[in-house]
Assembly symmetry: C2
Homo-oligomer: 622 residues x 2
């Protein structure tokens, strides 16, 4: 031990060593995991949890706690070890890593109260951190947000989307740390230990970049202090480290990604690490700083009164426009509601929200991943975010949506311009797989209004729904059909046309509701009676109404402006196929092209004319 080691320095170094020991022990016991990546970041995490971050270790839910996001989620054992160090979990509990009955999973999830968001898909943490930092501004708190990233994940474009959002929003409460250990999973990273090239990239994106030795706890402390003092821009620590630091069998060596030590190797590594413990001379770690307690604008517990829809029956209004109107009304009534845009606010009508609540309107520019990632961070901290763009472009953020589902965050999504009914812009702008994407998220409500009243009402329902919700809106204007007093509960449907002599039920939603009604009217003149159900809640789907209709009419036809895979047809079959009921479907059969909405609806079988033909064919062939 060097005699120049100050007491706090020695204590922090020992914390880091204990974090390494704990990470080795827990991964060896689990038989899988990432001790080498835990070892590289141990000094940084020691400094963060014992000195830098202000938080109450007794109260994970305090809204003004500093936030920590482990973007390199595979270093989970290091995080759990840090919690053990400050008494959040017991040391014994950390040895249940990756067991079925333990919430200490292979990658962190919000099953643990200290975790805001699930990580493990690399490159997502910083975008969520931007959202957490925006939330501090929203509620008037001075909490800071720290995001620990691997160097390999800097290759993800989403990191640079987050970097530019951090710059644009001047988030000086945000601090990223790059654990630059130089080794990816299968090879060295693109830049290895070239700290200056990495720092230059961050500076080009407007960040205050500090190059630091990630194993020097004093230098890391000083860098964090410099970050705290930096105003008007976020800070990044480019921390040079060694993968497997302190464990000679793996330190700086390739081939150790995601590999635990054998029991024998682990004993050797622990002995080696224990020998690195230094006398502390009674100094110990500094006390964990308490949060400031400042929250200028705490969240309300519930929304205020929401202005009801005000349309005339039959009036032509696009659901995308009514969505914007409804979102603005909700924004007035509930300070928790925020809106995020990807530079299409004048097409999705979220500019109406911006007009009434500009301070809660966040511009992501054309960067859907950070839009969704920001919304995840905001949702994790109490906001109710609505991320809106063309539905086709929400697929850009599919992995973020997937991870949002794993986190179970209270985030809402809306996609406009769905289906071939957008017309001339052509296939690249038509969402034909958005229902498939959102239906595949457990517990995500999937809502698809056909008129302005239901669109406004479903905005309110989505906000009230606990967890994720998706609203699909359309470009064409459709007639206002429902009374303003009508309720649209998640999981419901509306039978719009029905008689005792119905021989077929059409289950549909959105623009095709009106084509179905027209087709039903046409064939009624030929003595064929058809029931029409507005399946505005695609998920959960109204199994009771569908089952009754299936029983009474014996044939169900699903109709959707979406590809067949993953949409309304699949949702209905999931309910009716176990009952052996017959379900036919009409969906967009192939990659579409440019044309007028009317032409495209017709050649894809979705027009009233085409549907009437399909009804006749199905009924006559029975």
């Amino acid at each position: 031990m060097s005699p120049s080691v100050a007491p706090a320095t020695a204590a922090l170094r020992n914390v880091a060593t204990r974090l390494r020991i704990n990470s080795v022990r827990s991964t060896t016991r689990a038989g899988s995991g990432h001790p080498s990546t835990c070892a590289s970041a141990a000094d940084i995490v020691a400094v963060l949890f014992l000195g830098e971050m202000r938080y109450d270790p007794q109260d994970p839910r305090r809204v003004d706690n500093d936030r920590f996001i482990l973007s390199k989620g595979h270093a989970a054992p290091l995080l759990y070890a840090a919690w053990a160090e400050v008494g959040i979990v017991s040391r014994e509990a950390t040895l249940t890593l990756r067991e079925l009955t333990s919430d200490l999973e292979g990658h962190p999830t919000p099953r643990l109260p200290w975790v805001d968001l699930a990580t493990g898909s690399l490159g997502q943490g910083l975008a969520a951190g931007v959202g957490c930092a925006l939330n501090a501004r929203r509620i008037g708190s001075d909490y800071r947000t720290y995001v620990l990233m691997g160097d390999g994940e800097m290759a993800e474009g989403s990191v640079w989307e987050a970097a530019q959002s951090g710059q644009f929003h001047k988030l000086d409460s945000l601090c990223a740390i790059i654990d630059l250990n130089g080794l990816g999973q299968s090879r060295e990273t693109q830049f290895g230990h070239d700290t200056e090239t990495v720092a230059a990239r961050w500076r080009a994106f407007g960040w205050h970049a500090i190059v630091v030795d990630g194993h020097d706890v004093d230098a890391v402390q000083a860098a964090f202090a410099e970050g705290r003092a930096t105003k008007g821009q976020p800070t990044v620590l480019v921390a040079r480290t060694e993968k497997g630091k302190g464990i000679s069998v793996m330190e700086g060596k390739p081939g150790w990604h995601g590999k635990p030590l054998s029991a024998e190797q682990a004993d050797g590594a622990v002995a080696e690490l224990e020998a690195q413990l230094v006398p502390e001379d009674g100094g110990g770690c500094p006390a964990i700083p308490a949060p400031s307690g400042v929250v200028a604008r705490p969240d309300p517990a519930a929304p205020g009164a929401i202005e009801p829809p005000s349309y005339k029956k039959g009036e032509l209004v696009a659901t995308r426009e009514a969505y914007g109107t409804g979102l603005a009304k909700l924004g007035v009534a509930d300070a928790r509601v925020v809106a995020l845009d990807a530079d299409v606010k004048n097409s999705t009508f979220t500019d109406r929200f911006e007009k009434v609540a500009p301070e809660r309107f966040y511009q992501a520019f054309i960067a859907e991943q950070v839009m969704v990632g920001m919304s995840m961070g905001l949702a994790a901290r109490g906001a109710i975010p609505f991320s809106t763009t063309f539905a086709a472009f929400l697929t850009r953020a599919a992995d973020f949506v997937r991870m949002a589902g794993i986190s179970g965050v209270n985030a809402k999504f809306a996609g406009s311009h769905c289906g071939v009914s957008i017309g001339e812009d052509g296939g690249s702008q038509m969402a034909l797989e958005d229902l498939a994407m959102f239906r595949a998220v457990p517990d995500c409500a999937v809502l698809y209004p056909c008129d302005a009243v239901s669109a406004e009402k479903l905005v309110v329902e989505a906000a009230a729904h606990k967890g994720m919700a998706y609203i699909r809106t359309s470009r064409p204007k459709t007639p206002v059909t429902y009374d303003a007093s009508e309720a649209f509960p998640v999981g419901g449907s509306k039978v719009l046309r029905s008689s005792a002599s119905d021989v077929l039920t059409i289950a549909t939603a959105g623009v095709t509701v009106f084509e179905a009604l027209k087709a039903a009217e046409t064939v009624a003149g030929e003595g064929i009676h058809v029931r029409v159900i507005d399946l505005y809640s695609v998920k959960p789907v109204d199994a009771a109404t569908l089952t009754t209709a299936g029983r009474e009419t014996t044939l169900v036809l699903t109709v959707e402006d979406h590809y067949s895979a993953g949409g309304i047809g699949d949702a209905v079959c999931e309910v009716l196929a176990p009952l052996g009921m017959r379900v036919e479907r009409v969906a967009v059969p192939a990659v579409p092209r440019s044309g007028t909405p009317e032409e495209l609806m017709d050649i894809n079988g979705l027009s009233a004319r085409a549907l009437a033909e399909t009804i006749r064919r199905l009924v006559s062939s029975r």
Copy 2:
């Protein structure tokens, strides 16, 4: 007119003016489209098509033509106008813009022989350009690749993934042009006309950046020449422009994104533009340079002999490993086959391909969007690319996959580590929606082998399949089941267990095939006879075999290590529900957690034990 205008300069300026006129005319006639963004890039496109690019206007398929990718696809009318200028289409044809019967769609698609890839989802063109440039190296051609981007799309992280790939691969044949007009759709872009800040970002990513006045055809020509002379790194022109240039009603003004002029406004604009035409003094444009004709390694028309699988029956081999083996064998047999990795080659076993064909193995690091984007560019130019990563992380590239589907490119994808059967790593690493994603791509084959033989065979089938194909592989080892001589055609299935007294059919694929077989064996001892079908081709699905099984056994149970939405259950219902057959399903019901593979299979209903219980319940309740 200034007397200092050189003849070629005057001619190019007039070309640009005519491109603007044509763009105004075609969008006004269509009643929709983006004349303002066409106007900003007209001078750049004039220089590119009449002087800079080497190509044969008579032969769009020449492999050594320089490539042009219009990443800002909404400027399609400008591209069509350029084609009219060089005689590729007629001027009259450009006036059919966006009509149903015209291939001149709202955004370019490969329905047009000069278009490599569909664009219109911003931020994808440069990744495809990286693939086109890699292809030049692959076939030994000196063709250059030009990608015209908007400034708004620089916000997409995928652009920075492409930038780093361009740097990593030292692609000096690649030239990007940023049309820096400063205006996005709904507002000014983040950096407006700040050319130096934009150029600094590109320099930080290792590109040779040239700031240029995008309306000065001489300066643009000189910048392209500088790009051609730059070795070892790609070039980007940061071209300062005005949106709506030359049309006073819209030049540099917000609110004109995506808006055509009225007929009257268009007449005025055309008159204004015509007044900008300058005398050419007989000089005219330079001749279009011809391609060099150099192609050192032209592609074979077909693969050579492929080494067959060599396993012992019952041997335990993971399908992900057999996939790697099969891909390496295919790589030896077919020089068109290339492999792309996102730093997981040692988990997906694509390192076996790298060993036998390192020059056709492309590392994308942890950047799935550019991996897929590069593969699209390579596929468009004759390669047969296999992009492989964990299936969960292919969702990161969902919008690229969507656009690949619109392009109908011959690109192949493989996702490993599907489902809860990966075990301890937890939900973030488990693909449970990948079948939904790929089934939603029209004409994409979706293949899901259960053993090593079928895995190897399906690699060959995927390569031979015309268009997109996806192969889903698993982490656990499974017993080799099939003979090396067995054929696995796309659209087929294998009945693995069958008798005349079967009362239920299990349709499944992958690891659950073996659980189903064990469950069937168990209940057979109780007198319940169950058919088991290996549905290795999830799409197209084997409707004939399923229908026969459904008729003969009257009850079909689908089983999948995937969420219910969009997977095997949906695929089977799509075929059997129109016949009114009863289909039950077992799928992963909720967000999973860490645990052993065996535990997770069991609690999610997928183990032999759980399946036997489900079979008993279904059969007894009939």
